[in-house]
Symmetry: C2
Subunit: 229 residues, 2 copies
Amino acid sequence: MAKSQNKSKAVILLSGGLDSATTLAIASAEGFECYALSFDYGQKQKSELKSAAKIAKNFGVLEHKIMQIALSDFGGSALTDKNIEVPVFKKSAEIPITYVPARNTIFLSFALAWAEVLACQNIFIGVNALDYSGYPDCRQDYISAFEAMANLATKQAVSGQKLSILTPLIKLNKAQIIQKGITLKVDYSITTSCYQADENGLACGFCDACEYRKSGFKSAKIPDPTHYK
Amino acid sequence: MAKSQNKSKAVILLSGGLDSATTLAIASAEGFECYALSFDYGQKQKSELKSAAKIAKNFGVLEHKIMQIALSDFGGSALTDKNIEVPVFKKSAEIPITYVPARNTIFLSFALAWAEVLACQNIFIGVNALDYSGYPDCRQDYISAFEAMANLATKQAVSGQKLSILTPLIKLNKAQIIQKGITLKVDYSITTSCYQADENGLACGFCDACEYRKSGFKSAKIPDPTHYK
């Protein structure tokens, strides 16, 4: 994790899943004033947004914004395109069809805008590059390049108030993330990871996100609190 | 201008102003299949979106998308915040209050997403760093950093299909941009530059955007077709 430059405020990208909940818990434990940012981006399952609201409340964020952005207008992903089915988990070197084009770049860009308006120099994102689906925008190289770009992009940055993108989970596997979260009192029963959770938040149990989550609880030797269909 | 890598498709950021209209004309003249992307981002004046639609039609783009994104939820700019007035033009080294936090980063991020879905490797943006308001996200350094980040961000890029951000206006002053556009048959009478144009597209004549535009036509010795209030 890069060294943070301002202890006061942080914008936390909060999807409502296991990783972002843990990230918020870490930011909160480190003493940041937390502003949570979620996106209704045309994802097929909206349960994660209900989860995000509950998690934000549990950790007492100063504000939780849910931005509406219609990435489904572009399509091209099993998570946003009605014509593409969410596949069953399969170990593979290929980036799966659940990849959403430029999603983290768009999410981080909005976080950058909000951070500047808040005079905030810290953005947290819960990417991790061990138990993940190989999405290019979850790797440290990408995050570092975004940070470099961001520090040329804004009035705040060119005035000398540099921005840090903080990725506390980047080197943790799923079991370690869960163990970390448990020590920080994350209630994983209210998080939603499944790519096709139903409206009650019940998980399918066989998509990539479910598979990584299930294996994580198993490896961590912690009972899986996920509600399956 | 960076060398383009794929002559077939390009996404063009089209605000409806003088610069983006000229940029679309250049991309079209270079033989690209053009996809125009505009944003209803909570800007106070929406006339530019009507202009964008007319310009897109004139140049026969394959598709024109207008994305809805509520940057006004963040505020912090005279262009989106009802509580901040658009100032009269004043020559200054300071970045004016018309700066919109992270705007070009957000716009380019959406362009990146659409480009990937289209299997397109070229994005055009009409930034210029001579007759401009000093916005940090209009400079070549920033654009190069965005391009570097983008080439780590997407499945397309990491598969070897590199993306180029093309900035054909970056070294032109406003008069040169207008002269270039005239040779490419841009109808500047349908473009909207004013930060507070009314619903009929009539310009105020005294904001930064009006000032740079007026001076540009004067220097280019071309009659100014702008309709003022």
